[in-house]
Symmetry: C2
Subunit: 218 residues, 2 copies
């Protein structure tokens, strides 16, 4: 297995990064509940840092829509409405489709192999009912496509939207199924064939159909 080269510097992360990562994780996994009021002193104490890095993290989390700040009043965790999946998916699908199109133009055999291996790992996770792992591998799969597209704006935006999808999945115990394995295989095939139009349709559809996992949302 090709070990992903780690270009991170071993520089210990700043208090701000610690706070940001932990807060985002807490919000996504539900430790911090939707609607919950955030007291920066409390958080700071819990993380063993001062209020400043906590506040700076909150700025970023607000920009990403995980918290809402009411200046002078309070900061609270945003709600997670199942129905927001309807707003979230269309732009995500459009951008994933675009990424697929751009990636196709830069596709190498190496990347194809990487995609195939990743889908293999994905299939194994599904079959061993390791659904959380499967979710993460699914993201990895699509990230490969996004990275191949080499467009930093697209990458950045998808990252943000994806975090929200992850949160929704988490809060609603959504799991991926057998079906996605075939989708991925089809995507690889179409990229290989440079069939951009069909690829666009499949990618868009692959994402938009996610809404079916929320049966009550029309």
């Amino acid at each position: 297995m090709p070990i992903p080269t780690n270009h991170e510097k071993p520089t210990r992360q700043s208090a701000k990064e610690t706070a940001f990562n932990q807060l985002q994780q807490w919000i996504i996994d539900g430790t911090l509940l939707p609607g919950e009021k955030i007291n920066d002193s409390e958080i700071a104490k819990a993380l063993g840092v001062s209020r400043t890095p906590v506040r700076e993290s909150l700025q970023l989390l607000e920009a990403q829509g995980f918290v809402k700040m009411f200046p002078g009043k309070a900061t609270q965790v945003t709600e997670v409405e199942r129905s927001s999946i309807k707003e979230l998916l269309p732009p995500l699908a459009a951008l994933q489709a675009l990424a697929g199109e751009l990636a196709t133009q830069r596709l190498t055999e190496e990347t194809v192999t990487l995609l195939e291996n990743t889908n293999q790992r994905f299939a194994e996770a599904i079959h061993s009912e390791n659904y959380y792992s499967a979710l993460k591998i699914d993201e990895t799969f699509h990230d490969i496509i996004v990275d191949t597209a080499q467009n930093k704006y697209i990458k950045n935006i998808i990252e943000q939207l994806q975090a929200h999808v992850r949160r929704l999945f988490f809060h609603n115990s959504i799991i991926l199924t057998e079906h996605s394995i075939e989708d991925h295989a089809k995507i690889i095939q179409l990229m290989r064939e440079r069939d951009i139009d069909s690829l666009n349709l499949i990618l868009k559809d692959n994402w938009l159909r996610t809404i079916d996992l929320f049966p009550d949302v029309r």
Copy 2:
């Protein structure tokens, strides 16, 4: 003329907002040059506030890609490469097209009228060679479509991408021409006719053709 109802509270903006708005403006209009190193103390002094709100603004500006922070080292204004228009436009075009599609489903006669009036003002600005004003009205035109789509994720993302386009236009003295007036008219017509496919094509094209305004960028 229908006066836009102003629901803003007259609450004086916080130091953070002041700093953010001013910094973004300075970066877009070139007061802060691409690549320039930002010294937060200096900025703080210049704005008459402390470093805290300045630093918080910088977090946001980094998230939006206007500055790059090198932790522990420095913060500098990102470069403006003409060629980045190539990365910027595809996602913007895709999302504007999507917004148009969604807006069509919610289109009212009132909105059509608003679009027509706006295009009228746009035409006047072009004809009187008031190009800066024309740019702003063009943004207003597209914002109406985005607002009508009623998707906060799309709105938020487009806002960010648009700010970068604005910066590129500014730094390269790009102006819009007669041609855009017809584009807008065509967009209105297709929305009215609910011809989603043609609309998608036109909107995508309308944005992608912007690249032609940068003749050297292939």
